[in-house]
């Protein structure tokens, strides 16, 4: 039996900056590795997460695959954490909520500047776009929120240290930023 805490992480509609910020905890990652084990995460290349203690979700929900991944995380993670502005309020990807999906696709793949081979991607393997980008709390119940774009490494550290130790995570004033 593994006594280690299991953590899964994923990026939905986000820029991956939150994961990079997580890695910015630098050498503290070895301390973390003593007590946690990573399930699905970019570090492990596991495709579907199994039962976990903590799930960290970066990014909002912009397509059908994001919905599936988010539901899978919710089902498997005892504690689900929305990480960063996109997961919390849609973030910059949600700026497309003010134009229609059609306009958005046309601009990106047909009419935009510098497009070589204009065509709307239509491979059946591609997940379908939702008409709007949603924050994750609109789809599943979220237990904790780590604001920031991205949350700083110290936010990750403070937050995870508390959760792992079984304490209620509390961020001091200096660590709460929305930008």
């Amino acid at each position: 039996m593994s006594a280690k805490i299991k953590i899964a992480t994923t990026s939905l509609a986000g820029c991956f900056g939150c994961h990079m910020s997580f890695l910015d905890i630098d050498e503290r990652i070895t301390e973390l590795a003593e007590v946690v084990e990573f399930d699905r995460s970019p570090l492990t290349d596991i495709e579907h997460c199994g039962p976990c203690d903590i799930g960290l979700i970066e990014g909002g929900v912009c397509n059908s695959e994001n919905v599936h991944v988010l539901r899978e995380f919710r089902k498997n993670c005892k504690t689900l954490v929305a990480v960063g502005a996109c997961a919390i309020n849609g973030g910059l990807p949600a700026l497309r909520n003010f134009v229609s999906v059609e306009e958005c696709l046309l601009e990106a793949y047909r009419d935009g500047i510098g497009i070589d081979n204009p065509q709307i991607p239509s491979d059946p393997e591609l997940p379908l776009l939702l008409d709007k980008v949603h924050p994750i709390h609109e789809i599943v119940k979220v237990d904790y929120f780590m604001p920031g774009c991205p949350p700083s490494a110290d936010v990750f550290w403070t937050f995870l240290s508390a959760l792992i130790a079984g304490r209620e995570p509390k961020l001091p004033y200096e660590l709460v930023h929305y930008d």
Binding site: A82, A85, I88, N89, G90, G91, L92, A94, L95, N97, F98, K132, H134, P135, H137, E138, V142, Y144, F145, M146, P147, C149, L171, Y173, V176, H177, Y178, D179
Partner: protein
Amino acid sequence: MSGTLTIDGKTIPFAAGQSVIEAARCAGIYIPHLCHKPGYAPHGSCKLCTVFVNGRKTSACTYPAAADQNVVSDTPELQQDRLRLTQMLFVEGNHFCPSCEKSGNCQLQGVAYHLRMLDNHYPHFYPQRQVDASHPDILLDHNRCIFCNLCVRASRDHDGKNVFAIAGRGINKRLIVNSASGQLKDSDISIDDQATQVCPTGAILVKRTGYQVPIGERWYDRQPISELALGKEDSHER
């Protein structure tokens, strides 16, 4: 009339004509607020400053201070109400702080930090709102307007111009510009007007002034609004 009242059990003095929020501020007690500003006629619209006065809920910015009042402000219940009101302001507009020049100097954000707001709680409206970039010196981004009416009051009462007004009701309310085209460039606003300085959010910005102070070193990055808003309020409310 002047005398003393108590707020959260502390006895403080008040001067004739002061509202509860002003008496509190002068005594070093912060009551969260967004539509109030010292020197401006009260508007009473954001309801963030709601307190109990002698057992009844009222807006501290519109309620006259009086002798022997018992004011209650800092309770978990009132702070929770303020948190929910602030979250509503975030979801009813479009607030993408990472892309906002005002970030760090924004009172909406400052109040949210004070209230320990970590999420927006409600489903987002993502309303369709316009940006009016027509004026050479001043930008008006309706996405960030919280209808505090401060620009309306500044233009009307301090600049003598009436450039702004709030039209409509409820979710259809909007800030309008008094010009034939409805655009800022055709109004008589000028860069020296108080109306360009007063907005608590990033809705009215003076162009070419953003990022003079780097993000991370701005007002609420360094000091909580509860401290900055006391006494020398104008130091953070440009």
